[in-house]
């Protein structure tokens, strides 16, 4: 077959995952154009192929989507349910591969050398059998690509959608696919990189593969060079079974409108901080700097940060620091529509420098964590968040995509 054991990488990607996940629990939604709405109900964050065929795109405002697809049915997103299925997919894939990367909620990279052995047939039939297994056991349709590098495997699954698979080992097949795919389809080639490449006449993946490696390195740094190698079929980006260390951890998002009331803003700040400290604890990090980023009424950005006295993940240390940042909004009372709290300069607990003024997580905080773990997230929370009753009365707000841990991508 032209490949050796230890060479094959697979990429498995759920087809319109959120929509498919809704169909697992509500089978009557099959064949119906469905759109999954973001938390505030304002725009489509995922859609079924039936809705896509009617011109609805991701991030389209709902009113525009309705004009394209009046028969479409709109559903509130439920990340708790999507995580259940995502982890089911992860566990199923681990039955067929010793090395699996949990790349995102609906995408996995895996070592594909054992598929033939597991299914007792040749590779193409084994890939098809794996695909059927996912539909049967999880209920979610997936597309699969298998090749000798991550980039080629992902191109294989992307180009096979919906509910298809590609085994890209023979050079003629790879060359044909690279010729068909625009360079912007590659993970790691963003808008700016695409413009740089286009200026040099590099439009397809085949153009990039045929380009001079050193020139690509000069243009796109070592990340671009890695893509170049991967397009040759040389695996240089490994499968990562554990998440690499974060540069920063952030929590926040839309405030669901323009907020001016200082009490409500403080409620959002504390909510985001409770989510942030929970994430820091889950990852085992402590931060040396805390940054507050806001989007103001005229869509302008505003950001301030504070250097902390030593590294910490303690809510009682971070809360006054965050509140001090919030009070710096000038002029006071400026409407705020988005808020993010970002923990920077991260250290794992064992790496940090101890300080004479060291403040460890209080017993109250540990107790709060234990209660919430056993009863439910936010069952015990700061009184400052009482200004957000509707938010906490709806369990859909308890779970965001960033609360799904273990993924190597966002």
């Amino acid at each position: 077959m032209g490949y050796e054991m230890g060479n094959l990488i697979g990429h498995l990607d759920a087809d319109c995952f959120y929509a498919s996940a809704e169909r697992v629990r509500f089978p009557h939604l099959k064949e119906i154009p469905i759109g999954v709405l973001g938390n505030q109900g304002a725009c489509v964050i995922a859609k079924s192929y039936e809705m896509k065929a009617r011109g609805v795109t991701t991030a389209m405002p709902i009113w525009e989507a309705v004009s394209h697809c009046p028969e479409g049915v709109y559903i509130k997103r439920d990340f708790q349910w999507y995580e259940v299925l995502s982890r089911k997919m992860l566990e199923l894939l681990k039955q067929y591969s010793p090395t699996v990367e949990y790349y995102s909620i609906d995408e996995f990279f895996f070592e594909a050398d054992y598929l033939e052995q597991a299914f007792g047939c040749d590779l193409p039939h084994a890939v098809a059998a794996l695909q059927a297994k996912f539909l049967e056991q999880v209920g979610v349709p997936v597309s699969i690509g298998v090749s000798t590098s991550r980039i080629l495997a992902k191109l294989g699954s992307d180009s096979a959608k919906p509910y298809g698979w590609h085994v890209l080992i023979e050079s003629e097949l790879i060359a044909k696919l690279l010729q068909e795919q625009p360079v912007g389809e590659l993970t790691g080639i963003g808008f700016r990189s695409g413009l740089k490449l286009e200026a040099l006449g590099i439009k397809t993946c085949a153009d990039l593969a045929a380009a001079d490696r050193k020139m690509i390195r000069d243009l796109l740094t070592i990340k671009g060079e890695a893509i170049w190698y991967e397009l040759q079929g040389e695996s240089v980006i490994p499968i990562q079974v554990t998440r690499p260390q974060h540069k920063c951890v952030a929590r926040g998002g839309s405030l669901g409108g323009r907020v001016t009331d200082p009490e409500v803003l403080n409620g959002w700040l504390i909510r985001n901080l409770e989510r942030l400290t929970e994430a820091l604890f889950a990852y085992g990090y402590q931060c040396g700097r805390l940054c507050l980023e806001l989007q103001l009424k005229d869509r302008t950005g505003w950001a301030r940060q504070v250097l902390l006295h030593g590294h910490t993940d303690a809510f009682e240390v971070l809360a006054p620091a965050a509140q001090k940042l919030l009070r710096q909004i000038d002029p006071a009372g400026t409407p705020v529509s988005y808020m993010h709290l970002i923990a920077k300069d991260l250290r794992t607990a064992g790496q940090r420098q101890l300080s004479l003024l060291d403040q460890q997580t209080s017993r109250a905080n540990s107790l709060k964590r234990k209660v919430n773990q056993s009863i439910g997230r936010f069952a015990l929370r700061s009184g400052a968040t009482l200004t957000l009753p509707e938010l906490y009365s709806d369990q859909a707000h308890d779970h965001e995509i960033c609360d799904i841990y273990g993924k190597t991508c966002f």
Partner: protein, 153 residues
């Protein structure tokens, strides 16, 4: 809310035949399941109602100004709780999809309704409404929303 839809499979065939609902059957795509739509704008608008373990079709609200019953399709929950409406019964209105301001949305457990009889003994069902959640208001641009059963929205 101006309409709802129920899967055909959830309505007994005898009821479909008796009420001549075949004309109300529709599909959202060629392969999709059949639904029966109940729209406020049609002349004799009806709603499905679960009452005493039986599914029946009941006149939706009141469009007759001569009647002493409240005009319209909805009643406010606040009024119901204040005891504004006597001799009426709380019922479940089953639905798989709801329609408000041209937006169809997914419904899991149906809606809460109020069954009232007019002075001739005719039954009327009204959907109960409450102030819309932020999500519902953004999705449908409606200030009020129905009372969902077993579903936060």
């Amino acid at each position: 809310m101006v309409g709802l839809s129920l899967l055909r499979s959830e309505i007994p065939e005898t009821l479909i035949a008796r009420q001549n609902l075949q004309n109300w059957l529709t599909r959202r795509s060629d392969q999709a399941v059949e639904e029966i739509r109940f729209l406020w704008r049609v002349r004799n608008s009806l709603l499905p109602v679960w009452s005493q373990n039986e599914l029946s079709l009941v006149e939706w609200g009141n469009k007759d100004r001569c009647n002493r019953l409240p005009c319209g399709s909805h009643l406010m929950q606040e009024e119901w709780e204040n005891g504004c409406w006597k001799n009426c019964q709380r019922v479940e209105v089953p639905a798989n999809f709801g329609l408000a301001n041209h937006v169809w949305f997914h419904v899991i457990g149906g809606f809460q309704g109020i069954l009232i009889h007019d002075n001739r003994g005719g039954a009327h069902v009204y959907l109960l409404t409450q102030p819309a959640s932020h999500y519902y208001e953004v999705m449908t641009r409606s200030k009020r929303m129905p009372l969902f059963i077993g579903q936060g929205i």
